[in-house]
């Protein structure tokens, strides 16, 4: 038997069960985001002032964990990687969208997921951001006839890093682990530096 997962793709359970599992995973996701302090806009915006890089560390932890899990499960034949959904790449619209997203993230201090977490714990800024997000979705939907052509431009399909760099899958996995560990070390260094606020910053040549 080749490939047991993704379970839903192989019909191991139906739509009803998958919805129940989605709810449970969603609750766990929100719970752990809150536990990690990700519902706090002050903490998240520390990212942009290089004083608290929890978001960077959390994202890289999640990426490395999921990536190694997918790679090795697939390697062992327990998972069919070709059945794992890969969102499509549209270079120009995603660069523009990323900039808008980043500006919103830096301004509001929350991203879509964390704004839900913040709202669930009763933070008003979270609620405000959810309202803004829904308004943005509405505006985009109304404007899509006008900007649809741009939104669909420079499409590359499901474009993965191994394809983009012409490297083997394993090499990319190893490379990302190295980058993540480097980012961790850099983030810790920045945080240690930020914890000494009394001392004026010295430029070391």
């Amino acid at each position: 038997m080749i490939g047991g997962a993704p379970f839903y793709e192989f019909g191991r359970f139906g739509e009803g069960t998958s919805l129940v599992i989605a709810v449970l995973l969603g609750i766990a996701f929100g719970w752990f985001l809150e536990q990690g302090g990700m519902g706090n806009a002050r903490k998240l915006s520390g990212q942009f002032y290089l004083t608290d890089l929890s978001v960077l560390k959390l994202m890289f932890s999640a990426i490395v964990t999921a990536m190694l899990g997918l790679f090795w499960l697939s390697w062992a034949g327990l998972l069919d990687l070709s059945r794992v959904y890969v969102p499509e790449t549209f270079i120009a619209p995603q660069v523009v969208g990323g900039l808008i997203f980043g500006a919103g993230f830096a301004t509001g201090g929350l991203c879509p997921g964390t704004s839900c977490v913040a709202a669930a714990t009763g933070r008003k800024d979270g609620l405000a951001l959810i309202a803004g997000m829904l308004a943005g979705v509405f505006v985009f939907g109304e404007a899509s006839p006008a900007i649809g052509q741009f939104a669909d431009s420079t499409g590359r399909g499901a474009w993965t890093l191994p394809q983009a760099f012409g490297l083997s899958y394993g090499t990319v996995v190893g490379g990302i682990v190295a980058v993540a560990l480097g980012a961790f070390a850099g983030a810790e260094w920045l945080e240690r530096r930020a914890e000494r606020p009394a001392r004026p910053m010295k430029v070391v040549a």
Partner: protein, 216 residues
């Protein structure tokens, strides 16, 4: 900071080591998607095709189904709506793209069919490339099935025993055998001799009409 108070450097170090080892081994582990990456022995495949060991006839398939051949998997690679209209009993609908990545049972015998024979033959190649040994396709496709299992035309000069066996097989699948004047047909009509132009009273007639309008 409060976060620092909860930190456990031992666990962090262990997780970092796991990540480093997992990442380093991944570099030399080879492709994780080898399951869908097939390879074929071209010479062997050419030999199989040349010796006509790659396909089954409709009558052979019908006999396998009737005799409950162990681990037989009949795969219909036509569209969903066509499958809903009519399919060979016990068949599973699998789109051709799915053939390339569906989970396989190496001990099973796979039989692929499409309307004609082309798509099934292509699916045969995909399954061979994925390492399945017991895989066949219905050469004449559903045409052949309808013609030789559901509505066979047997010459009146055919020996009684042979006629009875054809009739029994046809009846098992709910079809109808027609005995025709020996001058107008051979014992087993070929797909090409226009046997389908004779209208038959059968529940598959609508399917036949539909199929004849399509090119596959």
């Amino acid at each position: 900071m409060t976060v620092d108070a909860r930190r456990r450097p031992g666990i962090e170090r262990a997780l970092a080591i796991v990540a480093v080892v997992g990442g380093a081994l991944a570099v030399v582990a080879g492709s994780p998607t080898r399951a869908t990456r097939g390879s074929v022995d071209v010479t062997e495949l050419a030999r199989i095709v040349e010796h006509e060991e790659d396909h089954v006839t409709a009558v052979e398939l019908a006999t396998w189904i009737r005799d409950d051949k162990p681990r037989l998997r009949v795969l219909d690679i036509r569209a969903d709506s066509e499958f809903a209209d009519f399919h060979i009993p016990g068949a599973t609908r699998v789109p051709l793209a799915e053939i390339a990545r569906m989970p396989l049972d190496s001990a099973a015998t796979y039989v692929l069919y499409s309307e004609g024979g082309t798509h099934a033959a292509q699916g045969w190649f995909l399954l061979r490339a994925r390492g399945v040994k017991n895989v066949f396709f219905l050469r004449g496709g559903l045409y052949e099935w309808l013609e030789q299992v559901m509505n066979p035309r047997v010459a009146s000069t055919t020996p009684q025993a042979q006629r009875d066996s054809v009739r029994a097989l046809t009846l098992w699948f709910g079809g109808k055998m027609t005995v025709v004047d020996s001058a107008s047909t051979t014992t087993v009509p070929s797909v090409l001799d226009g046997a389908l132009s004779t209208p038959h009273k059968s529940d598959t007639r609508e399917s036949i009409k539909k199929i004849r309008r399509r090119a596959c």
